[in-house]
Amino acid sequence: MTGELIAGLAAVLNWQVLGFLAAGVTLGAVFGALPGLTATMGVAVLTPLTFWVSPEQGLAMLLGIYCGAIPAGGIPAILINVPGTPASIATSWDGYALTRKGRAGLALGVNALASAAGQLTSIAFLAFFAFPIASFALRFGPAEYFGLALLGISLMAGVSGDRVLQGMLAGSLGLALALVGLDPMTAYPRYTFGFSEFLDGISFVPVMIGLFGLGEVLSQVADRRSRSSAPKIEIGRVVPSAADARGMAGASLSGAGVGTLVGAIPAAGGDIGSVIAWEQARRASADKARFGKGSLRGLAASCSACNAAIGGAMTTMLTLGIPGDAVSAILIGALLIHGIQPGPLLFANNQSFVFSIVFLLVFACVMITAIGLLGAKPLARVLSIPPPLLWAGIVLFGTVGSYALNNAVADVWAMYVAGLAGFLFRKARIPLGPLVLGLILGPMMESNLRRALILSRGDWLDLMARPIVAVFLTAAVLSVAWPWIRSRRGSARRNHAPLSDA
Protein backbone atom coordinates (compact mmCIF):
# COMPACT_ATOMS: atom_id res chain seq x y z
CA MET A 1 0.00 0.00 0.00
CA THR A 2 2.80 2.42 0.92
CA GLY A 3 4.59 1.65 -2.32
CA GLU A 4 1.43 2.38 -4.30
CA LEU A 5 0.97 5.61 -2.36
CA ILE A 6 4.51 6.77 -3.17
CA ALA A 7 4.12 5.73 -6.81
CA GLY A 8 0.87 7.70 -7.02
CA LEU A 9 2.55 10.79 -5.57
CA ALA A 10 5.59 10.43 -7.83
CA ALA A 11 3.37 10.24 -10.91
CA VAL A 12 1.90 13.68 -10.23
CA LEU A 13 5.03 15.36 -8.87
CA ASN A 14 6.45 16.44 -12.19
CA TRP A 15 6.27 19.84 -13.82
CA GLN A 16 4.19 18.68 -16.78
CA VAL A 17 1.37 17.21 -14.69
CA LEU A 18 1.43 20.14 -12.28
CA GLY A 19 1.45 22.54 -15.25
CA PHE A 20 -1.66 20.88 -16.71
CA LEU A 21 -3.25 21.00 -13.25
CA ALA A 22 -2.48 24.73 -12.87
CA ALA A 23 -3.86 25.43 -16.35
CA GLY A 24 -7.00 23.46 -15.52
CA VAL A 25 -7.53 25.25 -12.20
CA THR A 26 -7.10 28.65 -13.87
CA LEU A 27 -9.47 27.79 -16.71
CA GLY A 28 -11.91 26.32 -14.20
CA ALA A 29 -11.83 29.56 -12.21
CA VAL A 30 -12.72 31.47 -15.40
CA PHE A 31 -15.54 29.06 -16.27
CA GLY A 32 -16.91 29.18 -12.73
CA ALA A 33 -16.66 32.94 -12.34
CA LEU A 34 -18.46 33.81 -15.58
CA PRO A 35 -22.24 33.44 -15.30
CA GLY A 36 -23.50 31.12 -18.01
CA LEU A 37 -20.35 29.02 -18.12
CA THR A 38 -20.38 26.00 -15.82
CA ALA A 39 -17.91 23.38 -14.62
CA THR A 40 -19.72 20.81 -16.77
CA MET A 41 -19.31 22.96 -19.87
CA GLY A 42 -15.61 23.56 -19.09
CA VAL A 43 -14.82 19.87 -18.64
CA ALA A 44 -16.87 18.92 -21.72
CA VAL A 45 -15.24 21.52 -23.96
CA LEU A 46 -11.69 20.76 -22.88
CA THR A 47 -11.90 16.96 -22.69
CA PRO A 48 -10.85 16.52 -26.35
CA LEU A 49 -7.65 18.46 -25.63
CA THR A 50 -6.58 15.77 -23.18
CA PHE A 51 -6.68 12.88 -25.66
CA TRP A 52 -3.14 13.59 -26.87
CA VAL A 53 -1.47 13.57 -23.44
CA SER A 54 -0.89 10.95 -20.73
CA PRO A 55 -3.79 9.90 -18.45
CA GLU A 56 -2.23 11.74 -15.50
CA GLN A 57 -1.78 14.95 -17.50
CA GLY A 58 -5.25 14.79 -19.03
CA LEU A 59 -6.93 13.98 -15.75
CA ALA A 60 -4.91 16.74 -14.03
CA MET A 61 -6.38 19.30 -16.41
CA LEU A 62 -9.96 18.04 -16.10
CA LEU A 63 -9.83 17.71 -12.32
CA GLY A 64 -8.27 21.18 -12.17
CA ILE A 65 -11.24 22.61 -14.09
CA TYR A 66 -13.70 20.78 -11.80
CA CYS A 67 -12.00 21.87 -8.57
CA GLY A 68 -11.42 25.42 -9.86
CA ALA A 69 -14.90 26.11 -11.22
CA ILE A 70 -16.96 25.21 -8.16
CA PRO A 71 -15.27 27.62 -5.66
CA ALA A 72 -15.01 30.30 -8.39
CA GLY A 73 -18.77 30.01 -8.95
CA GLY A 74 -19.15 31.60 -5.53
CA ILE A 75 -17.30 34.77 -6.62
CA PRO A 76 -20.06 36.30 -8.81
CA ALA A 77 -22.65 34.94 -6.36
CA ILE A 78 -20.99 37.00 -3.62
CA LEU A 79 -20.11 40.12 -5.61
CA ILE A 80 -23.08 40.62 -7.92
CA ASN A 81 -25.69 38.09 -6.68
CA VAL A 82 -25.37 35.97 -9.84
CA PRO A 83 -24.36 32.35 -9.05
CA GLY A 84 -21.52 31.35 -11.36
CA THR A 85 -22.59 27.69 -11.24
CA PRO A 86 -25.79 26.01 -10.01
CA ALA A 87 -23.85 24.76 -6.97
CA SER A 88 -23.33 28.32 -5.69
CA ILE A 89 -26.99 29.36 -5.43
CA ALA A 90 -26.98 29.09 -1.63
CA THR A 91 -23.65 30.98 -1.53
CA SER A 92 -25.40 34.08 -2.87
CA TRP A 93 -27.90 34.16 0.00
CA ASP A 94 -25.40 35.21 2.65
CA GLY A 95 -22.47 36.16 0.41
CA TYR A 96 -24.25 38.97 -1.42
CA ALA A 97 -25.73 40.22 1.85
CA LEU A 98 -22.17 40.50 3.22
CA THR A 99 -21.09 42.43 0.10
CA ARG A 100 -23.92 44.89 0.62
CA LYS A 101 -22.66 45.39 4.14
CA GLY A 102 -19.19 46.26 2.86
CA ARG A 103 -17.64 42.88 3.74
CA ALA A 104 -17.05 41.53 0.23
CA GLY A 105 -13.41 40.71 1.01
CA LEU A 106 -14.35 38.62 4.02
CA ALA A 107 -17.09 36.84 2.06
CA LEU A 108 -14.60 35.95 -0.68
CA GLY A 109 -12.08 34.82 1.94
CA VAL A 110 -14.67 32.60 3.62
CA ASN A 111 -15.66 31.24 0.21
CA ALA A 112 -12.04 30.27 -0.49
CA LEU A 113 -11.36 28.78 2.94
CA ALA A 114 -14.68 26.97 3.42
CA SER A 115 -14.44 25.61 -0.12
CA ALA A 116 -10.98 24.27 0.74
CA ALA A 117 -12.36 22.73 3.94
CA GLY A 118 -15.15 21.07 1.96
CA GLN A 119 -12.87 19.79 -0.77
CA LEU A 120 -10.20 18.48 1.62
CA THR A 121 -12.76 16.78 3.87
CA SER A 122 -14.38 15.06 0.93
CA ILE A 123 -10.99 14.04 -0.49
CA ALA A 124 -10.16 12.49 2.90
CA PHE A 125 -13.45 10.60 2.72
CA LEU A 126 -12.51 9.47 -0.76
CA ALA A 127 -9.15 8.25 0.45
CA PHE A 128 -10.34 6.48 3.60
CA PHE A 129 -14.04 5.66 3.25
CA ALA A 130 -14.57 5.27 -0.47
CA PHE A 131 -16.12 1.83 -0.33
CA PRO A 132 -18.54 2.28 2.63
CA ILE A 133 -19.90 5.55 1.20
CA ALA A 134 -20.26 4.12 -2.27
CA SER A 135 -21.98 1.03 -0.89
CA PHE A 136 -24.45 3.22 1.00
CA ALA A 137 -25.16 5.20 -2.15
CA LEU A 138 -25.72 1.96 -4.02
CA ARG A 139 -28.64 1.12 -1.72
CA PHE A 140 -30.56 4.06 -3.14
CA GLY A 141 -33.43 3.01 -5.36
CA PRO A 142 -36.28 5.13 -6.75
CA ALA A 143 -38.05 5.20 -3.37
CA GLU A 144 -34.95 6.55 -1.60
CA TYR A 145 -34.41 9.19 -4.30
CA PHE A 146 -38.03 10.24 -3.88
CA GLY A 147 -37.44 10.54 -0.11
CA LEU A 148 -34.31 12.61 -0.67
CA ALA A 149 -36.12 14.92 -3.10
CA LEU A 150 -39.05 15.31 -0.73
CA LEU A 151 -36.65 16.19 2.10
CA GLY A 152 -35.04 18.80 -0.15
CA ILE A 153 -38.42 20.27 -1.07
CA SER A 154 -39.48 20.36 2.57
CA LEU A 155 -36.58 22.78 3.13
CA MET A 156 -38.50 25.39 1.11
CA ALA A 157 -40.04 26.72 4.31
CA GLY A 158 -36.64 26.99 5.94
CA VAL A 159 -34.96 28.88 3.10
CA SER A 160 -37.84 31.37 2.89
CA GLY A 161 -36.78 33.40 5.91
CA ASP A 162 -39.75 35.26 7.43
CA ARG A 163 -41.83 34.91 4.21
CA VAL A 164 -42.73 31.23 4.59
CA LEU A 165 -46.06 31.32 2.72
CA GLN A 166 -44.59 33.28 -0.18
CA GLY A 167 -41.58 30.94 -0.25
CA MET A 168 -43.81 27.85 -0.40
CA LEU A 169 -45.70 29.42 -3.29
CA ALA A 170 -42.46 30.20 -5.12
CA GLY A 171 -41.37 26.60 -4.53
CA SER A 172 -44.64 25.27 -5.94
CA LEU A 173 -44.12 27.49 -8.98
CA GLY A 174 -40.68 25.90 -9.41
CA LEU A 175 -42.29 22.46 -9.19
CA ALA A 176 -44.85 23.56 -11.77
CA LEU A 177 -42.16 24.81 -14.17
CA ALA A 178 -40.41 21.46 -13.79
CA LEU A 179 -43.51 19.81 -15.29
CA VAL A 180 -42.84 21.37 -18.70
CA GLY A 181 -41.67 18.83 -21.26
CA LEU A 182 -42.25 15.15 -21.81
CA ASP A 183 -43.74 13.19 -18.92
CA PRO A 184 -40.78 11.21 -17.50
CA MET A 185 -42.64 7.89 -17.53
CA THR A 186 -44.98 7.98 -20.51
CA ALA A 187 -43.34 10.69 -22.69
CA TYR A 188 -46.72 12.46 -22.84
CA PRO A 189 -46.06 16.15 -23.67
CA ARG A 190 -47.08 18.57 -20.91
CA TYR A 191 -47.26 22.36 -21.20
CA THR A 192 -45.11 22.48 -24.35
CA PHE A 193 -47.77 24.51 -26.22
CA GLY A 194 -46.63 22.93 -29.47
CA PHE A 195 -43.04 24.21 -29.21
CA SER A 196 -40.47 21.48 -29.81
CA GLU A 197 -37.93 23.51 -27.77
CA PHE A 198 -39.94 22.74 -24.64
CA LEU A 199 -39.99 18.95 -25.12
CA ASP A 200 -36.80 18.58 -23.07
CA GLY A 201 -38.20 20.85 -20.36
CA ILE A 202 -37.03 24.24 -19.26
CA SER A 203 -33.24 24.52 -19.06
CA PHE A 204 -32.22 25.17 -15.50
CA VAL A 205 -29.13 27.35 -16.03
CA PRO A 206 -30.85 30.09 -18.11
CA VAL A 207 -33.65 30.28 -15.54
CA MET A 208 -31.07 30.63 -12.77
CA ILE A 209 -29.20 33.38 -14.66
CA GLY A 210 -32.48 35.17 -15.33
CA LEU A 211 -33.84 34.97 -11.79
CA PHE A 212 -30.66 35.97 -10.05
CA GLY A 213 -28.78 37.95 -12.71
CA LEU A 214 -31.20 39.78 -14.97
CA GLY A 215 -33.78 40.06 -12.17
CA GLU A 216 -31.21 41.77 -9.94
CA VAL A 217 -30.12 44.08 -12.78
CA LEU A 218 -33.71 45.13 -13.52
CA SER A 219 -34.32 45.67 -9.82
CA GLN A 220 -31.25 47.90 -9.51
CA VAL A 221 -32.16 49.78 -12.70
CA ALA A 222 -35.63 50.44 -11.28
CA ASP A 223 -34.28 51.68 -7.96
CA ARG A 224 -31.28 53.63 -9.23
CA ARG A 225 -32.89 57.06 -8.84
CA SER A 226 -34.22 56.44 -5.36
CA ARG A 227 -30.70 55.93 -4.05
CA SER A 228 -29.43 59.19 -2.64
CA SER A 229 -25.84 58.39 -3.56
CA ALA A 230 -23.71 55.55 -4.82
CA PRO A 231 -23.11 52.93 -2.12
CA LYS A 232 -19.73 53.13 -0.47
CA ILE A 233 -17.51 50.36 -1.79
CA GLU A 234 -15.76 48.58 1.04
CA ILE A 235 -13.85 45.35 0.67
CA GLY A 236 -12.51 44.94 4.19
CA ARG A 237 -10.37 42.12 5.45
CA VAL A 238 -10.18 38.87 3.51
CA VAL A 239 -8.99 36.36 6.10
CA PRO A 240 -11.52 35.83 8.89
CA SER A 241 -10.53 36.59 12.48
CA ALA A 242 -9.78 33.71 14.86
CA ALA A 243 -13.17 34.23 16.53
CA ASP A 244 -14.99 34.17 13.19
CA ALA A 245 -13.05 31.07 12.13
CA ARG A 246 -14.00 29.28 15.35
CA GLY A 247 -17.64 30.23 14.83
CA MET A 248 -17.64 28.88 11.29
CA ALA A 249 -15.70 25.67 11.91
CA GLY A 250 -18.72 23.60 12.92
CA ALA A 251 -20.83 24.84 10.03
CA SER A 252 -17.99 24.14 7.59
CA LEU A 253 -17.51 20.61 8.85
CA SER A 254 -21.20 19.75 8.90
CA GLY A 255 -21.52 21.27 5.43
CA ALA A 256 -18.62 19.13 4.27
CA GLY A 257 -20.30 16.01 5.66
CA VAL A 258 -23.63 16.80 4.02
CA GLY A 259 -21.96 17.75 0.73
CA THR A 260 -19.88 14.58 0.62
CA LEU A 261 -22.86 12.32 1.25
CA VAL A 262 -25.16 14.13 -1.17
CA GLY A 263 -22.40 14.26 -3.79
CA ALA A 264 -21.90 10.51 -3.43
CA ILE A 265 -25.52 9.90 -4.37
CA PRO A 266 -25.76 9.66 -8.15
CA ALA A 267 -27.52 12.61 -9.80
CA ALA A 268 -27.56 14.63 -6.57
CA GLY A 269 -24.82 17.26 -6.62
CA GLY A 270 -23.55 20.40 -4.93
CA ASP A 271 -26.66 22.42 -5.77
CA ILE A 272 -28.82 20.21 -3.55
CA GLY A 273 -26.08 19.59 -0.97
CA SER A 274 -25.38 23.27 -0.38
CA VAL A 275 -29.06 24.11 0.20
CA ILE A 276 -29.45 21.22 2.66
CA ALA A 277 -26.21 22.19 4.45
CA TRP A 278 -27.26 25.86 4.65
CA GLU A 279 -30.61 24.92 6.18
CA GLN A 280 -28.95 22.47 8.56
CA ALA A 281 -26.53 25.18 9.73
CA ARG A 282 -29.44 27.60 10.18
CA ARG A 283 -31.33 25.11 12.34
CA ALA A 284 -28.25 24.43 14.46
CA SER A 285 -27.54 28.12 14.96
CA ALA A 286 -28.75 30.15 17.92
CA ASP A 287 -28.92 33.21 15.65
CA LYS A 288 -31.26 31.96 12.93
CA ALA A 289 -32.48 35.42 12.01
CA ARG A 290 -29.07 36.34 10.62
CA PHE A 291 -29.14 33.57 8.00
CA GLY A 292 -29.77 34.99 4.56
CA LYS A 293 -28.76 38.44 5.82
CA GLY A 294 -25.01 37.99 5.93
CA SER A 295 -24.32 35.04 8.21
CA LEU A 296 -20.74 33.78 8.03
CA ARG A 297 -21.92 30.36 9.20
CA GLY A 298 -24.51 30.15 6.46
CA LEU A 299 -21.93 31.16 3.88
CA ALA A 300 -19.35 28.69 5.22
CA ALA A 301 -21.84 25.81 5.29
CA SER A 302 -23.02 26.36 1.71
CA CYS A 303 -19.51 26.90 0.28
CA SER A 304 -18.15 23.87 2.10
CA ALA A 305 -21.02 21.61 1.01
CA CYS A 306 -21.02 22.48 -2.69
CA ASN A 307 -17.28 21.79 -2.84
CA ALA A 308 -17.49 18.63 -0.74
CA ALA A 309 -19.82 17.23 -3.37
CA ILE A 310 -16.76 16.96 -5.63
CA GLY A 311 -15.13 14.31 -3.44
CA GLY A 312 -18.47 12.56 -2.96
CA ALA A 313 -19.11 12.40 -6.70
CA MET A 314 -15.55 11.21 -7.34
CA THR A 315 -15.99 8.48 -4.70
CA THR A 316 -19.04 7.06 -6.43
CA MET A 317 -17.43 7.43 -9.82
CA LEU A 318 -14.18 5.70 -8.93
CA THR A 319 -15.53 2.91 -6.75
CA LEU A 320 -18.71 2.01 -8.62
CA GLY A 321 -18.15 3.50 -12.06
CA ILE A 322 -21.41 5.45 -11.61
CA PRO A 323 -21.34 9.21 -12.23
CA GLY A 324 -22.21 11.24 -9.13
CA ASP A 325 -22.98 14.31 -11.25
CA ALA A 326 -22.73 15.63 -14.81
CA VAL A 327 -19.01 16.44 -14.54
CA SER A 328 -18.07 12.98 -13.30
CA ALA A 329 -20.12 11.48 -16.15
CA ILE A 330 -17.82 13.29 -18.60
CA LEU A 331 -14.77 12.29 -16.54
CA ILE A 332 -15.77 8.63 -16.86
CA GLY A 333 -15.80 9.07 -20.63
CA ALA A 334 -12.37 10.70 -20.55
CA LEU A 335 -10.96 7.87 -18.40
CA LEU A 336 -12.41 5.22 -20.71
CA ILE A 337 -10.75 6.89 -23.69
CA HIS A 338 -7.45 6.58 -21.82
CA GLY A 339 -8.16 2.88 -21.24
CA ILE A 340 -9.03 3.24 -17.56
CA GLN A 341 -12.24 1.61 -16.37
CA PRO A 342 -13.59 3.18 -13.15
CA GLY A 343 -15.10 0.67 -10.73
CA PRO A 344 -14.11 -1.74 -7.96
CA LEU A 345 -11.41 -3.34 -10.12
CA LEU A 346 -9.62 0.00 -10.39
CA PHE A 347 -8.89 -0.19 -6.65
CA ALA A 348 -7.64 -3.75 -6.97
CA ASN A 349 -5.54 -3.40 -10.12
CA ASN A 350 -4.38 0.20 -10.26
CA GLN A 351 -4.17 1.57 -6.74
CA SER A 352 -1.36 3.98 -7.57
CA PHE A 353 -3.60 5.69 -10.14
CA VAL A 354 -6.31 6.13 -7.50
CA PHE A 355 -3.75 7.71 -5.18
CA SER A 356 -2.62 9.96 -8.06
CA ILE A 357 -6.20 11.21 -8.36
CA VAL A 358 -6.33 11.87 -4.62
CA PHE A 359 -3.07 13.87 -4.76
CA LEU A 360 -4.24 15.77 -7.85
CA LEU A 361 -7.42 16.78 -6.01
CA VAL A 362 -5.38 17.94 -3.01
CA PHE A 363 -2.97 20.01 -5.16
CA ALA A 364 -5.87 21.49 -7.14
CA CYS A 365 -7.53 22.47 -3.88
CA VAL A 366 -4.35 24.20 -2.67
CA MET A 367 -4.03 26.08 -5.98
CA ILE A 368 -7.63 27.34 -6.13
CA THR A 369 -7.51 28.34 -2.46
CA ALA A 370 -4.39 30.41 -3.12
CA ILE A 371 -6.06 32.00 -6.15
CA GLY A 372 -9.18 32.68 -4.09
CA LEU A 373 -7.32 34.31 -1.21
CA LEU A 374 -4.74 36.26 -3.21
CA GLY A 375 -7.26 37.30 -5.83
CA ALA A 376 -10.03 38.30 -3.40
CA LYS A 377 -9.13 41.99 -3.18
CA PRO A 378 -8.50 42.50 -6.92
CA LEU A 379 -11.70 40.57 -7.72
CA ALA A 380 -13.72 42.62 -5.27
CA ARG A 381 -12.66 45.74 -7.17
CA VAL A 382 -15.36 44.75 -9.66
CA LEU A 383 -17.70 46.51 -7.22
CA SER A 384 -16.07 49.86 -7.96
CA ILE A 385 -17.07 49.60 -11.64
CA PRO A 386 -19.95 52.02 -12.36
CA PRO A 387 -23.18 50.01 -11.97
CA PRO A 388 -24.45 50.58 -15.57
CA LEU A 389 -21.25 49.03 -16.96
CA LEU A 390 -21.63 46.08 -14.62
CA TRP A 391 -25.31 45.67 -15.57
CA ALA A 392 -24.49 45.71 -19.28
CA GLY A 393 -21.80 43.07 -18.76
CA ILE A 394 -24.12 40.81 -16.74
CA VAL A 395 -26.86 41.10 -19.36
CA LEU A 396 -24.50 40.31 -22.25
CA PHE A 397 -22.79 37.38 -20.53
CA GLY A 398 -26.17 36.06 -19.37
CA THR A 399 -27.58 36.29 -22.89
CA VAL A 400 -24.63 34.71 -24.67
CA GLY A 401 -24.05 32.15 -21.90
CA SER A 402 -27.69 31.02 -22.00
CA TYR A 403 -27.55 30.72 -25.78
CA ALA A 404 -24.25 28.82 -25.73
CA LEU A 405 -25.66 26.02 -23.55
CA ASN A 406 -27.68 24.44 -26.39
CA ASN A 407 -27.27 26.96 -29.23
CA ALA A 408 -30.95 27.71 -28.67
CA VAL A 409 -32.59 31.14 -28.73
CA ALA A 410 -35.46 29.63 -26.67
CA ASP A 411 -33.06 29.36 -23.74
CA VAL A 412 -32.38 33.10 -23.96
CA TRP A 413 -36.11 33.86 -24.02
CA ALA A 414 -36.45 31.62 -20.95
CA MET A 415 -33.70 33.64 -19.31
CA TYR A 416 -35.44 36.93 -20.09
CA VAL A 417 -38.82 35.71 -18.81
CA ALA A 418 -37.12 34.41 -15.66
CA GLY A 419 -35.44 37.81 -15.32
CA LEU A 420 -38.79 39.58 -15.41
CA ALA A 421 -40.15 37.07 -12.88
CA GLY A 422 -37.10 37.66 -10.68
CA PHE A 423 -37.73 41.42 -10.81
CA LEU A 424 -41.44 41.04 -9.95
CA PHE A 425 -40.65 38.58 -7.14
CA ARG A 426 -38.18 41.04 -5.65
CA LYS A 427 -40.78 43.79 -5.75
CA ALA A 428 -43.38 41.51 -4.14
CA ARG A 429 -40.73 40.35 -1.62
CA ILE A 430 -41.16 36.69 -2.62
CA PRO A 431 -37.99 34.65 -1.95
CA LEU A 432 -36.33 33.15 -5.02
CA GLY A 433 -34.46 30.26 -3.38
CA PRO A 434 -37.49 27.96 -3.04
CA LEU A 435 -38.35 28.40 -6.74
CA VAL A 436 -34.92 27.09 -7.72
CA LEU A 437 -35.25 24.25 -5.23
CA GLY A 438 -38.58 23.23 -6.79
CA LEU A 439 -37.18 23.42 -10.30
CA ILE A 440 -34.18 21.23 -9.42
CA LEU A 441 -35.98 18.66 -7.32
CA GLY A 442 -39.33 18.48 -9.12
CA PRO A 443 -38.28 16.05 -11.89
CA MET A 444 -36.29 13.93 -9.42
CA MET A 445 -39.28 13.66 -7.08
CA GLU A 446 -41.88 12.88 -9.75
CA SER A 447 -39.95 10.34 -11.79
CA ASN A 448 -38.67 8.45 -8.74
CA LEU A 449 -42.03 8.38 -6.96
CA ARG A 450 -43.70 6.94 -10.03
CA ARG A 451 -40.91 4.41 -10.59
CA ALA A 452 -41.09 3.39 -6.93
CA LEU A 453 -44.85 2.95 -7.14
CA ILE A 454 -44.48 0.72 -10.18
CA LEU A 455 -41.97 -1.41 -8.26
CA SER A 456 -44.27 -1.60 -5.21
CA ARG A 457 -47.28 -2.27 -7.50
CA GLY A 458 -48.96 0.93 -6.37
CA ASP A 459 -48.54 0.18 -2.63
CA TRP A 460 -47.69 3.49 -0.90
CA LEU A 461 -47.17 1.84 2.50
CA ASP A 462 -44.60 -0.57 1.11
CA LEU A 463 -42.76 2.37 -0.38
CA MET A 464 -42.69 4.33 2.87
CA ALA A 465 -41.72 1.39 5.06
CA ARG A 466 -38.21 1.23 3.59
CA PRO A 467 -35.78 2.34 6.35
CA ILE A 468 -33.92 5.06 4.41
CA VAL A 469 -37.18 6.39 2.99
CA ALA A 470 -38.73 6.43 6.46
CA VAL A 471 -35.80 8.46 7.80
CA PHE A 472 -36.07 10.97 4.93
CA LEU A 473 -39.85 11.29 5.26
CA THR A 474 -39.64 11.76 9.04
CA ALA A 475 -36.99 14.44 8.56
CA ALA A 476 -39.14 16.11 5.89
CA VAL A 477 -42.23 16.15 8.13
CA LEU A 478 -40.20 17.49 11.06
CA SER A 479 -38.57 20.18 8.93
CA VAL A 480 -42.01 21.53 7.96
CA ALA A 481 -43.71 20.99 11.32
CA TRP A 482 -40.93 22.04 13.67
CA PRO A 483 -40.97 25.81 12.94
CA TRP A 484 -44.77 25.78 13.44
CA ILE A 485 -44.52 23.76 16.70
CA ARG A 486 -41.79 26.05 17.96
CA SER A 487 -43.78 29.19 17.25
CA ARG A 488 -46.85 27.65 18.97
CA ARG A 489 -44.76 26.74 22.03
CA GLY A 490 -43.31 30.22 22.04
CA SER A 491 -46.72 31.87 21.98
CA ALA A 492 -48.04 29.44 24.64
CA ARG A 493 -45.06 30.30 26.85
CA ARG A 494 -45.72 33.99 26.37
CA ASN A 495 -49.41 33.49 27.30
CA HIS A 496 -48.47 31.69 30.52
CA ALA A 497 -45.68 34.05 31.48
CA PRO A 498 -46.03 35.94 34.79
CA LEU A 499 -47.37 39.43 34.39
CA SER A 500 -44.20 40.89 35.77
CA ASP A 501 -42.35 39.52 32.79
CA ALA A 502 -44.58 41.40 30.40
Binding site: Q166, D223, G393, F423
Partner: protein
Protein backbone atom coordinates in the same frame (compact mmCIF):
# COMPACT_ATOMS: atom_id res chain seq x y z
CA UNK B 1 -55.00 45.26 3.11
CA UNK B 2 -51.45 44.21 2.13
CA UNK B 3 -51.73 44.90 -1.60
CA UNK B 4 -48.64 42.96 -2.72
CA UNK B 5 -49.81 39.82 -0.89
CA UNK B 6 -53.33 40.06 -2.32
CA UNK B 7 -52.04 40.57 -5.88
CA UNK B 8 -49.43 37.77 -5.56
CA UNK B 9 -51.97 35.47 -3.89
CA UNK B 10 -54.55 36.13 -6.61
CA UNK B 11 -52.04 35.44 -9.38
CA UNK B 12 -50.87 32.21 -7.76
CA UNK B 13 -54.49 31.17 -7.13
CA UNK B 14 -55.27 31.50 -10.82
CA UNK B 15 -52.09 29.61 -11.74
CA UNK B 16 -52.90 26.83 -9.27
CA UNK B 17 -56.46 26.43 -10.52
CA UNK B 18 -55.13 26.44 -14.08
CA UNK B 19 -52.75 23.61 -13.21
CA UNK B 20 -55.52 21.57 -11.59
CA UNK B 21 -57.82 22.09 -14.56
CA UNK B 22 -55.15 21.39 -17.18
CA UNK B 23 -54.01 18.31 -15.24
CA UNK B 24 -57.42 16.71 -15.79
CA UNK B 25 -56.71 16.66 -19.55
CA UNK B 26 -53.61 14.48 -19.11
CA UNK B 27 -53.81 10.67 -18.68
CA UNK B 28 -54.86 9.88 -15.13
CA UNK B 29 -52.92 6.62 -14.83
CA UNK B 30 -53.90 2.98 -14.64
CA UNK B 31 -54.10 0.29 -11.98
CA UNK B 32 -53.66 2.68 -9.07
CA UNK B 33 -50.45 4.09 -10.55
CA UNK B 34 -50.37 7.87 -11.09
CA UNK B 35 -50.28 9.09 -14.68
CA UNK B 36 -49.04 12.26 -16.35
CA UNK B 37 -51.87 14.29 -14.80
CA UNK B 38 -51.18 13.37 -11.16
CA UNK B 39 -48.38 15.82 -10.39
CA UNK B 40 -49.91 18.84 -12.17
CA UNK B 41 -53.08 18.37 -10.14
CA UNK B 42 -51.22 17.77 -6.87
CA UNK B 43 -48.96 20.80 -7.34
CA UNK B 44 -51.88 22.92 -8.55
CA UNK B 45 -53.94 22.02 -5.50
CA UNK B 46 -51.05 22.85 -3.16
CA UNK B 47 -50.48 26.14 -4.97
CA UNK B 48 -54.15 27.10 -4.87
CA UNK B 49 -54.50 26.35 -1.14
CA UNK B 50 -51.33 28.30 -0.27
CA UNK B 51 -52.38 31.17 -2.54
CA UNK B 52 -55.82 31.34 -0.94
CA UNK B 53 -54.16 31.49 2.48
CA UNK B 54 -51.86 34.31 1.32
CA UNK B 55 -54.77 36.24 -0.21
CA UNK B 56 -56.85 35.94 2.96
CA UNK B 57 -53.93 36.99 5.10
CA UNK B 58 -53.26 39.92 2.82
CA UNK B 59 -56.90 41.05 3.02
CA UNK B 60 -56.79 40.94 6.84
CA UNK B 61 -53.40 42.65 7.17
CA UNK B 62 -52.75 46.30 7.74
CA UNK B 63 -52.09 48.31 4.55
CA UNK B 64 -48.50 48.36 3.36
CA UNK B 65 -46.88 51.37 1.78
CA UNK B 66 -45.80 50.99 -1.83
CA UNK B 67 -42.06 51.21 -2.47
CA UNK B 68 -41.27 54.75 -3.51
CA UNK B 69 -39.04 55.69 -6.41
CA UNK B 70 -39.38 52.51 -8.50
CA UNK B 71 -38.66 53.56 -12.09
CA UNK B 72 -40.82 51.13 -14.05
CA UNK B 73 -40.28 53.13 -17.25
CA UNK B 74 -36.56 52.32 -17.09
CA UNK B 75 -37.33 48.61 -16.68
CA UNK B 76 -39.71 48.77 -19.65
CA UNK B 77 -37.10 50.49 -21.85
CA UNK B 78 -34.32 48.03 -20.91
CA UNK B 79 -36.77 45.15 -21.45
CA UNK B 80 -37.73 46.50 -24.88
CA UNK B 81 -34.06 46.86 -25.86
CA UNK B 82 -33.41 43.28 -24.76
CA UNK B 83 -36.37 41.95 -26.74
CA UNK B 84 -35.32 43.93 -29.81
CA UNK B 85 -31.76 42.63 -29.52
CA UNK B 86 -32.92 39.04 -29.22
CA UNK B 87 -35.45 39.40 -32.04
CA UNK B 88 -32.53 40.22 -34.34
CA UNK B 89 -30.53 37.19 -33.13
CA UNK B 90 -29.38 35.09 -36.06
CA UNK B 91 -29.50 37.97 -38.52
CA UNK B 92 -25.71 38.19 -38.66
CA UNK B 93 -23.39 41.07 -37.73
CA UNK B 94 -23.09 39.95 -34.09
CA UNK B 95 -20.29 42.39 -33.32
CA UNK B 96 -22.08 45.46 -34.66
CA UNK B 97 -25.54 44.47 -33.42
CA UNK B 98 -24.30 43.75 -29.90
CA UNK B 99 -22.17 46.88 -29.71
CA UNK B 100 -25.13 49.04 -30.77
CA UNK B 101 -27.35 47.34 -28.20
CA UNK B 102 -24.81 47.91 -25.42
CA UNK B 103 -24.27 51.55 -26.35
CA UNK B 104 -28.03 52.17 -26.38
CA UNK B 105 -28.42 50.57 -22.94
CA UNK B 106 -25.45 52.46 -21.50
CA UNK B 107 -26.57 55.79 -22.96
CA UNK B 108 -30.07 55.28 -21.59
CA UNK B 109 -28.59 54.58 -18.17
CA UNK B 110 -26.73 57.86 -18.23
CA UNK B 111 -23.24 56.93 -19.40
CA UNK B 112 -21.38 59.31 -21.69
CA UNK B 113 -20.77 58.53 -25.36
CA UNK B 114 -17.04 57.85 -25.30
CA UNK B 115 -16.92 55.48 -22.29
CA UNK B 116 -20.02 53.72 -23.64
CA UNK B 117 -18.44 53.15 -27.04
CA UNK B 118 -15.11 52.03 -25.59
CA UNK B 119 -16.70 49.69 -23.06
CA UNK B 120 -19.10 48.19 -25.61
CA UNK B 121 -16.27 47.56 -28.07
CA UNK B 122 -14.08 45.90 -25.44
CA UNK B 123 -16.91 43.75 -24.06
CA UNK B 124 -18.10 42.60 -27.47
CA UNK B 125 -14.55 41.75 -28.52
CA UNK B 126 -14.00 39.72 -25.35
CA UNK B 127 -17.30 37.83 -25.67
CA UNK B 128 -16.64 37.13 -29.34
CA UNK B 129 -13.15 35.86 -28.58
CA UNK B 130 -14.28 33.69 -25.64
CA UNK B 131 -17.37 32.14 -27.24
CA UNK B 132 -16.68 32.11 -30.98
CA UNK B 133 -12.96 31.42 -30.97
CA UNK B 134 -12.63 29.68 -27.58
CA UNK B 135 -15.79 27.59 -27.34
CA UNK B 136 -16.68 27.38 -31.02
CA UNK B 137 -20.17 28.74 -30.42
CA UNK B 138 -21.64 30.42 -33.49
CA UNK B 139 -23.13 33.74 -32.41
CA UNK B 140 -24.11 34.89 -35.90
Amino acid sequence: MAREDVVAGGAFLLAGLGLVFSGTRFPAGVGGLPGAGFFPQAIGTMMAVLAAALTLRGLRSAPTTAAAGTDLRAVAVVGALLCGYLALWGSGFFLVRTAVFLVLVLRFLGQRWLPSLAYAAALVAFVHLAFEAGLNVSLE
